[in-house]
Symmetry: C2
Subunit: 258 residues, 2 copies
C-alpha cells in the first residue's frame, strides 16, 4: 500500500507499478488526463468551461510543458501515470506506459476531476457505495443529455455514473456531493433512468452493472468519461488520455481541493 | 425602473440608457466583460481557470460571435452594454457606447461574475452592506496576493473588494458567499488589512472608502477588476472591457446561476 501520491508516482515513474490506481494512496485526489495539441486546446478548454459538471478542470499545463504545479509539485505527465491511450482521428491506436517518446512541444495537458474523490466523502458519511461493496467498476451510461458544443468539439452525449441509494441516503448524497463542484458536484438526475435516455439500467455502456435493491433509487452523476466520448465524436487528429482506471494520483488531499 | 434584464438591454441597445446598471433589473445577474482577439483568448481563459476566485467565467463566445446563449437569449455584446473601454497595449485609449464599428471576426468575449449577485444574497439574510447604505461604490484594493500567470498573462496582483461586518455577520457572510462560487465565492481574507498588503484601509485603489465601526472586521473578496489589472500589466495589443459600473445585465436570476 502506498501512503502518499508522491510515493505511488515514484514507482509509476520507474515502471514498477502498472496497475489501476483505485484504492492506492487513499485520500489523495486522483484525476483524469486529456492531452491535446495546442491547436485543439482552446476548443477543449471552452468545452470544459461550458460543461463543468462532466469536465471539472483541476489543472492545465503550459503549452509544451508536461510538469504540474497545483495538483503535485513537479509531477511529470509523460511518466507519472501507469497507462495511457493514444487516439488518432477518434480511433484508439495504442496503449503505452510512457509518453516520453511521443511528447510534442505543442502538447497541452488537462487534469480533470474524478468521482473517486466524492465516493470517499460519501463513505465517511456511512453511505454504502454499491460498486465498492461489490468490488466492480462503477456503472456508466451514455445519456440523451447533450453537452454544449465548443468550436470543433461537437455536441456529444453526457456520460453519467450511477450509484443506488434509499431515498434518505440519496438526499444525503446530493447534500454532500454539492460541496464538491471540482469532482462533478451534485447529481444530474435521480430516479427513472428512461428520463435521461437509459434503456436498460442493467446494461451499462462502460463499467459493470451493480445490484439495485427494492426501494433504492438510482442516482446519476456527470462522469469524466464524457470528454473522451466528446473527443471520439469530434475526432481530433491526436489525443492522449489515461487508460480507464489508471489515473493521475496527486499530492492534494480531497479536503484541500478548492 | 426596469423589471427584467431583457427590458433594460433593449433600451441600452437603442442608446436611450447610458448609465451605471447597479440597482436596475434587480435580481438579474450582472457580469463583467472582457473582449480579446483569438490570439490572446487561450491565455486569458487559462488565466481564469487558474484564478477562479477573481475570474469566475460565466460565458465565453464562439470565435467572432458577439451573441450570448447561456446568460441571455441572443443578446449582442456589441450593443447591449451601456459603455465600453478600449485598451491598446495596456493603455486606455477610448470610451465608447457601441462596438459595432470595431468588432473583429477574431474577437472572443468573456462574461465574468460580479459581486452584485452575492450582495443581494447577503441583504436577503439581513446583513447590512456598508457601500450600499452609504450609497458609494464598494472599496477595492490591490493586494500582495499574486495571481497565477498563464501564457502571456503575467503574475499580477489580486484585487479585492471589502465589506465590514461584526464577527457573527462576517461568519454568516462566509457561509452565504461560499455557496456562490460563480460570483467570487467565499472571502480570500478577513481582519488585518496589512496581512494582504493593504497599507491604508481608508484609501482604496478603486471605488470609495466606507466607514468601519468599532468591533467590525473588514472582510475581503476576490474582485472582478483583477483581470483588467492583469491585462494592463500584460499589455495585449487590444482589449475591450465594460466601463466600471456599466455592466452586462443578463436574463438569469441569481438563484438560477449554476
Amino acid at each position: 500500500m502506498y501512503k502518499t501520491g508522491k510515493d505511488l508516482r515514484s514507482d509509476i515513474r520507474c515502471g514498477s507499478f502498472v496497475e489501476p490506481t483505485s484504492g492506492h494512496a487513499s485520500g489523495y485526489v486522483q484525476a483524469n488526463l486529456v492531452v491535446l495539441p495546442q491547436d485543439w486546446a482552446w476548443d477543449f478548454l471552452l468545452f470544459a468551461q461550458r460543461n463543468p459538471k462532466p469536465c471539472p478542470v483541476l489543472e492545465v499545463g503550459d503549452i509544451g510543458s508536461p510538469f504540474t504545479s497545483k495538483l503535485a509539485d513537479n509531477a511529470d505527465i509523460r511518466t507519472d501515470i501507469p497507462k495511457y491511450r493514444i487516439y488518432k482521428n477518434g480511433e484508439l491506436t495504442a496503449e503505452v506506459t510512457d509518453l516520453q517518446n511521443c511528447w510534442q512541444p505543442d502538447f497541452v495537458y488537462f487534469l480533470i476531476g474524478c468521482s473517486f474523490s466524492f465516493e470517499l466523502a460519501l463513505m465517511k458519511a456511512s453511505l454504502e457505495i454499491r460498486n465498492i461493496t461489490e468490488r466492480v467498476n462503477v456503472p456508466m451510461y451514455i445519456t440523451n443529455i447533450s453537452c454544449q458544443e465548443a468550436g470543433r468539439f461537437k455536441s456529444s452525449p453526457m456520460v453519467v455514473s450511477m450509484r443506488p441509494f434509499i431515498a434518505k441516503d440519496a438526499i444525503c448524497a446530493v447534500e454532500i456531493t454539492s460541496r464538491f463542484p471540482h469532482v462533478h458536484g451534485s447529481p444530474v438526475h435521480l430516479g427513472d433512468p428512461g428520463f435521461i435516455g437509459i434503456k436498460d439500467i442493467n446494461k451499462p455502456d462502460y463499467g459493470d452493472a451493480v445490484s439495485i435493491k427494492p426501494q433504492e433509487i438510482p442516482v446519476f452523476w456527470a462522469c469524466g468519461v464524457t470528454p473522451q466520448l466528446a473527443a471520439l465524436v469530434s475526432k481530433p487528429p491526436l489525443m492522449i488520455t489515461h487508460a480507464p482506471g489508471y489515473m493521475f494520483v496527486s499530492d492534494i488531499k480531497e479536503e484541500e481541493l478548492k
